[in-house]
Structures are given as structure tokens and as C-alpha cells.
């Protein structure tokens, strides 16, 4: 027991990584699913262990191979990284329970064990991404997670062959992003001689104003922005999420971009926080705020005109990423905290929305557009009810989780930029009601087009679906845990700037 507690930071990464190998060797698809469920559950327990351990200390530092940090690889769990760790482990556990019904429907049965191997590899990559404090190690985990998610997206080719081209574009664009990140890391290493995040943060301000530092920052942030699908660099995201197998859409939409946004926060505040004191960073900050506002509107407007429901939700993800980035780029304590609150809530919202939508498309055996699903809500009332809860939460109605994050975001925007930014946030939230209403109208009020088809509820997915809808309500009523941990995360992130 003591050994487990001492090694929690590595165990959250190594458990899914090792178990993916076990799953790859298993021949039966049910076995592979059960092993995956157990693995993600154990990972979730380890993450909870880390969370409780962090109540007493500020920072858990883990030295791989007992090498002292600037020389060896260090894993750091602090108040910031615990948030994405908890999101990824909990959502991946829920998504794994949810997944088997859809995997059996959409992927050849003999390929399911290998699919779960990729699934666990993707989770391991994401966990490593948010745990590590070494910038090059981060690149390796970035590629583990993105290569395995590309392969997962391509698994959708049994349903629709466009999954292949979507996966190809995701691969090419993602690889360019990762290579940009490596160039940035190389430039920073060439002038500081270190790869450790806190060591970089100590050494970079000593260099003064330096062109190599600026170039390195630009390459790193541009590379990660591609991975995080920030507005002009988001073109891979809608088709990748739309053509992936249903359960993979749920996993990726809820976790993958969140980890990348966390890295943006890490790079700009932990690594470059002290350095930016030297520069006039207001221009850069304003540029990123502008990008997030564009993302909010472009994503929402594209969603309004979209007919394919999974694509519509993916476009809406682009807009929501805009909100998160807006909060983080405000660079005030309340702004960053609101970004992290929305990071948590958006994972719950998008996970729930994708789950209910793919559940409604389960019996149609084809890609779901807004018309092919018309009137289906009456046949699947519980699924539709969870969809409504998550949808209202997306729009930010009171008593849902989305309301809390909108509230804090508007408050932070008002405090730091003024009324015009609040107005833009509220306007784009109001616009998101349009596409929500479009979906609700088609699903509930339109006449039933699928009378001849046997469509009924899927009881196997009640537990994950109702759980995630309940969490959306619960965090709307009692958001103390989320807000408190987000505010302490923001404080420890901004420590570098306020020094």
C-alpha cells in the first residue's frame, strides 16, 4: 500500500500503458472490454488518490530512475495538473463502460481487442501529457496520444470510408504541429541546456530579451495550438470527430483537446511566465483574446449551418475551446480560474452530448444527420432527457454546470476588459441556443421518419449516460469542488508572473 501511494504519479501513466499490451494479446472482445474497464477504473482510483494526497501538500514531485530533476525526467502533480488528470481518468472510465455496445456495432469483432489497445494507449498518452514536467517527454506523450487517436479515427472506415481521409488529415496536420513543438523545444534547449519546465522557467528570464526565446515560444505555442484546435487551426477537428467510431468520438471530444489546452496554459504561464515580464506582452495577449473571440463566433455559426449532428457538435467544440482559451488568456486569477472551470464543465457537457447523440443513432446503422433522426426523442425518452440536460448546460442555463462557467467567465471578462467582452460572450452563448433549438426541434417535435425501423432505448448505456447528466446538474448546484480547485490552480499558475 505504501509503495502504491509513493508511486502514484507514475502509476497513473504506466497502468493504462502496460494494460494496453495485455489487451492487445487478448483474443476475445468481451475480455478486452472488461480489462479496459478495470484498467480505467484503477487509473481513476489512482488519480483520486493523488487528489487526496494534494490536499496536504502543494506539489508532488516524482523523479524517474532516481535522477535529480534538471538532469532526469521529473513528473510533477500540482494543483494545476490534478484537474486535467481527474477529467481524463474519470471521463475515460465512463466512456469505456459506454463503448462496448457501439464498438460491436461499428467495428469488426476480431479488431475490437486491438481497438481497445489503441484506446488505452491514447489514454496513457493523455495522462502522461498532463503529468510530465519535461518538455521533450511531453512531445513523446503528445505523439503517443495523437498517433493512437488517428488510428482510432481510421477505425470508423467500416461505417463510412470518409473516416480514412479524416484520419489522414488529422495525422498530417497533427504531425506538423508536433514537429513545430519539437523545433521550439530544440531552440530553447540550445540556449538554456535544460528540458525541465521549472528549470527553464528559472533560466529563461536570465537571458534577457532574446530572439531565440521568442522564436522558441512561437514554435511551441503554434504547434500546441494546432493540437488544441484553436480557431484558424481547427480544420482537422470536425471531420475527425464526425467520422470516428461513436465511442471514440465520445472519448476524444471529452479529453483530447483539454490536455492540449492545459499544455498551452503550462507553456505560457509556468515556462514563460517570468520571461514575459521582460516583454510588453499585451499585444500577444490581445491577439490570443481576438483568436478566441473569433473561435467562439466561427464555431457557433458553422454549427448553426451544419446538418450532420456529430459534425455540428464538433463545430460547437471549436467554439467552446474559444471560451476556455479566452479565460486562460485573460491572465488574471479569476480569468484563468474560469478557463479551468469551463475545462471541467465542457468535458462533462460534450461527453454527455456525444453519448446521447450516438445512442440515438444506434439503430439507424448509418451516419446521423438532423433529418434522419427526426422524432426519435419520443422513442428514447431517457436518452433524449440526458441530451436536453447537457444541451442546456452547453447554452449556460441556470442550475446546470455550464451556467457556473459562463458566470465566472463573464465576471472575469468584465473585471479585466470591460463590458464589450461580456457582451460578445453573451451574444455567442445566445447564438448557441439556435443550433440547440434546431436539434431539439428535429429530435422531438418533427414527425417520426423511422416508423418502420425498430428503435428503442438501449438499457446497457443508462449508467454512464445518467451519471454524466447527473454530474452536469450536480456541478451546477454545488460547484464548490470545481471552483475551489480551479482557483487554487490559477493561483499556482500565475505565481510565475506575479513574482
Amino acid at each position: 500500500m505504501d509503495i502504491i501511494l509513493k508511486n502514484l504519479p507514475i502509476l497513473v501513466v504506466i497502468t493504462p500503458l502496460m494494460m494496453s499490451l495485455v489487451v492487445a494479446l487478448s483474443s476475445n472482445y468481451i475480455t478486452s472490454w472488461i480489462i479496459s474497464c478495470l484498467t480505467t477504473f484503477v487509473t481513476f482510483c489512482f488519480s483520486l488518490g493523488l487528489f487526496f494526497e494534494l490536499q496536504n501538500v502543494n506539489l508532488i514531485s516524482y523523479h524517474l530512475g532516481n535522477w535529480i530533476p534538471p538532469f532526469g525526467i521529473e513528473y510533477v502533480i500540482d494543483k494545476v495538473s490534478i484537474i486535467p488528470i481527474l477529467i481524463i481518468s474519470s471521463i475515460s472510465f465512463i466512456a469505456t463502460i459506454f463503448s462496448i455496445k457501439f464498438m460491436m456495432n461499428e467495428i469488426s469483432l476480431n479488431l475490437i481487442p486491438k481497438t481497445y489497445c489503441l484506446w488505452l494507449l491514447a489514454i496513457a498518452g493523455l495522462m502522461g501529457l498532463v503529468t510530465t514536467a519535461d518538455v521533450f517527454n511531453l512531445f513523446v506523450f503528445l505523439e503517443i496520444s495523437s498517433l493512437s487517436s488517428v488510428a482510432l479515427v481510421a477505425m470508423g472506415n467500416k461505417m463510412d470510408k470518409k473516416a480514412l481521409t479524416a484520419a489522414y488529415n488529422y495525422l498530417i496536420i497533427g504531425a506538423i504541429g508536433a514537429t513545430f513543438y519539437v523545433i521550439g523545444v530544440g531552440l530553447l534547449y540550445s540556449i538554456t541546456g535544460t528540458l525541465n519546465m521549472s528549470d527553464l522557467a528559472d533560466k529563461l528570464p536570465m537571458l534577457g530579451i532574446n530572439k531565440v526565446v521568442i522564436a522558441g515560444f512561437g514554435f511551441m505555442i503554434a504547434g500546441i495550438m494546432i493540437k488544441a484546435a484553436i480557431f484558424p487551426l481547427h480544420i482537422w477537428l470536425p471531420s475527425a470527430y464526425a467520422f470516428a467510431p461513436s465511442s471514440v468520438s465520445v472519448l476524444l471530444a471529452a479529453t483530447a483537446t483539454k490536455a492540449s489546452i492545459y499544455i498551452i496554459a503550462r507553456i505560457s504561464y509556468t515556462i514563460f511566465g517570468g520571461t514575459f515580464e521582460l516583454y510588453a506582452i499585451d499585444d500577444l495577449r490581445f491577439f490570443i483574446i481576438l483568436l478566441s473571440i473569433l473561435a467562439m463566433f466561427a464555431g457557433t455559426i458553422m454549427a448553426i449551418y451544419e446538418k450532420d449532428i456529430k459534425r455540428l457538435l464538433a463545430h460547437s467544440s471549436v467554439a467552446q475551446i474559444g471560451y476556455i482559451l479566452l479565460g486562460i488568456s485573460l491572465a488574471t486569477s479569476s480569468g484563468v480560474a474560469s478557463g479551468f472551470i469551463h475545462l471541467v464543465n465542457h468535458a462533462l457537457i460534450k461527453g454527455g452530448l456525444f453519448m446521447s447523440v450516438v445512442a440515438m443513432g444506434y439503430y439507424l446503422q448509418k451516419r446521423v444527420t438532423i433529418y434522419s433522426l427526426s422524432g426519435i426523442g419520443k422513442k428514447m425518452p431517457i436518452t433524449f432527457f440526458s441530451f436536453i440536460i447537457c444541451g442546456l448546460s452547453l447554452a449556460g442555463l441556470p442550475l446546470t454546470a455550464g451556467f457556473i462557467s459562463k458566470l465566472y467567465l463573464v465576471k472575469a471578462a468584465y473585471d479585466s476588459e470591460g463590458v464589450w467582452l461580456c457582451f460578445l460572450i453573451l451574444l455567442s452563448s445566445a447564438l448557441s441556443l439556435i443550433y440547440l433549438w434546431k436539434m431539439i426541434e428535429a429530435l422531438w417535435f418533427n414527425p417520426d421518419d423511422n416508423k418502420d425501423k425498430k428503435v428503442k432505448e438501449i438499457p446497457e448505456i443508462y449508467i454512464p449516460l445518467v451519471l454524466i447528466a447527473f454530474l452536469n446538474i450536480y456541478f451546477g448546484i454545488d460547484a464548490t469542488i470545481v471552483t475551489e480547485s480551479s482557483f487554487s490552480a490559477a493561483e499556482s499558475l500565475l505565481k510565475g508572473i506575479n513574482q
Binding site: F136, F139, V140, E143, L147, V150, A151, A154, N157, K161, K162, L164, T165, A167, Y168, L171, I172, A175, I176, A178, T179, V182, I183, G186, Y189, S190, K307, T369, I370, Y371, N446, P447, D449
Partner: protein
């Protein structure tokens, strides 16, 4: 002036390769050529790392009994070994996707593939502008 340019010739090679690779990825229509471009782009980054790991007159960092030689920095080489493995994985996955695309679409040209997709889209949804005509 010329010395300044030629003295950092290895950085120029990195730069030129990088631009060639990026250009191929962006401009070529063939999916296979894009993978080639991506490989060239990644290789240029490997060269960048190797370049700043090299110290003039430095040898491989192996302990010898011969005095105290100058060592080159071994860490960039190790990092690049990892990056090469990642690059191999990316290339292999990309080529596998290209083969799969070729066997389902019968083409690896970007324009032809999107034309095929468009034709199928209109076949599947002939009345997509008139959804509620019932």
C-alpha cells in the same frame, strides 16, 4: 558578410529542407507525396538538433584513459533517436492510411477523392435543401 552566411551553412541546410518539406505537404495533391514531404520536414528538425549538439573538435562521449578530451553533447542525439522512432511511426501510419484509401477510393489524389465524396454526398442526400417536403 559571406562568412556570416556560409559560417552557419548547416543552419541554412536545415532551413531549406524545412521549407521544401512544408511546401510539399501544402502544395502537392498526391497523398503519398505529402507523406514524403512530412518526412523531409521532420528530418530537417533532426539535423537542427544534431547541429547544436556538435562541438568543434568534440568526440563521442565515451570515457577513455587518454587525458581529458572534449565531448560533444550526447543528449540531442538521444532526443533525436526518440524523435526518429516517432517519425517512423508517423510515416508507417500515414502510408498504411494511404494504402487503405487507395483500396477503398481507387485513387490517392486529393482532388479526385473529394470529387468522389461530393458525388456520393449528392447521391445520398438528393433533396438536402428541401428537408421537410413531406
Amino acid at each position: 558578410m559571406i562568412h556570416e552566411f556560409l559560417g552557419i551553412w548547416n543552419y541554412w541546410i536545415v532551413f531549406i529542407l524545412m521549407m521544401i518539406g512544408l511546401y510539399i505537404v501544402i502544395a502537392k495533391k498526391s497523398l503519398l507525396k505529402k507523406i514524403v514531404g512530412l518526412s523531409i520536414f521532420q528530418t530537417s528538425v533532426f539535423l537542427l538538433y544534431i547541429t547544436f549538439g556538435k562541438i568543434t573538435g568534440g568526440t563521442a562521449p565515451i570515457l577513455t584513459s587518454l587525458g581529458d578530451p572534449i565531448y560533444s553533447n550526447p543528449l540531442p542525439h538521444v532526443l533525436i533517436l526518440t524523435a526518429i522512432v516517432v517519425g517512423v511511426a508517423t510515416t508507417a501510419l500515414g502510408l498504411a492510411l494511404v494504402i487503405k484509401i487507395n483500396s477503398t477510393y481507387g485513387s490517392i489524389d486529393e482532388d479526385e477523392i473529394s470529387a468522389i465524396d461530393l458525388v456520393e454526398f449528392h447521391q445520398n442526400f438528393p433533396d438536402r435543401n428541401l428537408p421537410n417536403k413531406k
